[in-house]
């Protein structure tokens, strides 16, 4: 036997049996036939992921169980967690992410980004809320059994996604369910409602009206009928997001996770929280220019201003001169706005020492990615 054939032998059974769901045990057997123990490990991970995607948790378990102790055991459960999330299996995803060891945090973040909406999800507002609350009770119970996991962060990620799935892309932005959300879920609910309301009211191809925030507020209050429109396929339920970055002064503020691994500030009261949610939703709408956030930079409420400056500097300008606005903000009375302005100007014109190093202070400038994909975990949110 030549070494080449040994390498080829290492081709995993999960590859060979792709598209043949009945052959799961054969795939696992082909991993066992690999002559070198190390090469059998990724093979087993592939078999586990493929099995989880087909709903064959027992085979997925057996595949992981044959991996020697170490990081690949965690990776194996991580892949199962991801695939179960893709298959809308919330409890399975949480259970396996809880067993992902050192990768548990990443697993929960990925699973929360990937969790598909359930096909049997209710649409009646009370049932929507009861469904989400019930799911979170089960998540809490599973997290209580998990190992070394930040349970609050993991639960909040799932809560954000469950509300996202209840609204975004459904073609209905009836605020009734979000308004019924219990207090600990109200920010998640408002975010999700705002995302769908913005999508339905302001299509990407249309110019954004200057009264966009007020129109979403009016819909929330019930002054106008709830926006409706065409639903989106699950794989198209994506939008613009930016990688979270630490901002001095914000670290002690209450924040919640949002789409794409990001976080947003929670408002001090429901009205303020809704306005922050709407601004975040406008950013999620890829076509929204920086200009839309300018009126909110001098809002009397600090969390609204701080949200606006963060989204302003992460968007592309349309008519305004972004650099001019940033320069004006360097003399703002608000130290957080001043910090953002200086930091953003540094990004536009890196100081010479940083140019030489070629490393920005943080990733992603204006024109942030459209996602969510499978992000890294955000800084730990605080409630």
């Amino acid at each position: 036997m030549k070494a080449l054939s040994l390498l080829l032998l290492a081709a995993c059974g999960a590859d060979r049996t792709a598209g043949d769901p009945g052959n799961g045990d054969e795939a696992l057997a082909s991993c066992d036939a690999i002559a070198f123990a190390e090469l059998a490990i990724p093979c087993r991970v592939q078999v586990a992921a493929a099995a989880a995607g087909r709903g064959d948790e027992a085979l997925a378990e057996r595949a992981c169980a044959g991996i020697p102790e170490g990081p690949w055991v965690g990776e194996c459960h991580f892949r199962i967690g991801e695939e179960m999330a893709r298959a809308a299996n919330l409890e399975g995803a949480v259970r396996h992410c809880g067993r992902a060891g050192v990768f548990a945090r990443s697993c929960f973040t990925h699973a929360a980004s990937l969790l598909a909406p359930s096909e049997q999800a209710p649409t009646e507002p009370v049932a929507v809320v009861e469904g989400i609350v019930g799911n979170l009770v089960r998540v809490d119970a599973l997290l209580a059994e998990a190992g070394n996991v930040d349970r609050v962060e993991a639960r909040d990620g799932m809560a954000a996604r469950l509300w996202f799935n209840a609204y975004y892309g459904t073609g209905r932005a009836d605020p009734a369910a979000a308004r019924l959300a219990p207090p600990d879920l109200s920010s998640f609910a408002a975010t999700a409602y705002a995302l769908e309301a913005v999508r339905l009211l302001f299509p990407e191809t249309d110019p954004l009206p200057t009264d966009a925030v007020e129109r979403v507020r009016a819909s929330w209050r019930g002054d106008v009928p709830p926006p409706t429109g065409g639903p989106l396929a699950n794989d198209l339920r994506v939008g613009r997001y930016h990688t979270p970055f630490p901002v001095p002064g914000e670290s002690s503020q209450a924040r919640i996770p949002v789409f794409g691994g990001g976080v947003r500030l929670a408002g001090a009261d429901p009205e303020e929280d809704l306005d922050i949610a709407i601004l975040e939703a406008l950013f999620f709408r890829t076509a929204t220019p920086s200009d839309a956030f300018v009126p909110w930079l001098d809002d009397p409420r600090e969390r609204v201003r701080w949200t606006a400056i963060r989204l302003f500097r992460r968007s592309r300008p349309e008519a305004l001169n972004l650099e001019e606005v940033l320069k004006q903000l360097t003399s703002s009375a608000d130290p957080v706005l001043r910090w953002h302005a200086h930091n953003a100007l540094d990004e536009l014109h890196p100081p010479p020492d940083r140019k030489h190093r070629g490393r920005p202070t943080r990733p992603a400038g204006p024109g942030a990615p459209v996602g969510p994909g499978v992000p890294d975990p955000p800084p730990a949110p605080q409630r």
């Binding site: 036997m1 030549k2 040994l6 390498l7 290492a10 090469l39 170490g70 690949w72």
Partner: protein, 123 residues
């Protein structure tokens, strides 16, 4: 395993692995020789790797090391020579968190020391 241990105790260097007639045991011998040097003596590791006569066998060593120690995968995978190994490497490199796992097989860096991705070729 017993045969391999006997071989390892009897052999002095990577060239002795070439005397082993069984293909799998010969690859195991090459791997054990190289992996003992990996992370400990970069120059000797690369010498052992270069002494392995075929690119497929050299890649087998690199792949096995990369899977055993995903933190070193980036450097090892950068040097693979065959398309088959490149494909296998993608499964490790495509999961960047793997490289953040504690390194169980490298006793040399003290706790908390930043770990290089790979020893890199000797200069």
């Amino acid at each position: 395993m017993i045969l391999l241990l006997l071989c390892l105790s009897a052999c002095d260097g990577p060239r002795d692995c070439e005397r082993i007639r069984d293909e799998v045991m010969r690859e195991d011998c090459r791997f054990e020789r190289a992996s003992a040097l990996f992370g400990a003596d970069s120059r000797a590791f690369y010498a052992a790797l270069e002494a392995i006569p075929s690119p497929e066998s050299r890649d087998l060593v690199r792949l096995r090391l990369a899977i055993r120690d995903p933190g070193a995968a980036q450097g090892l995978c950068r040097e693979v020579e065959t398309a088959s190994a490149q494909e296998k490497c993608r499964q490790v490199l495509g999961r960047p968190h793997l490289s953040t796992a504690p390194r169980a097989h490298d006793p040399h860096p003290p706790a908390g020391t930043p770990v290089p991705a790979s020893p890199g070729p000797p200069r």
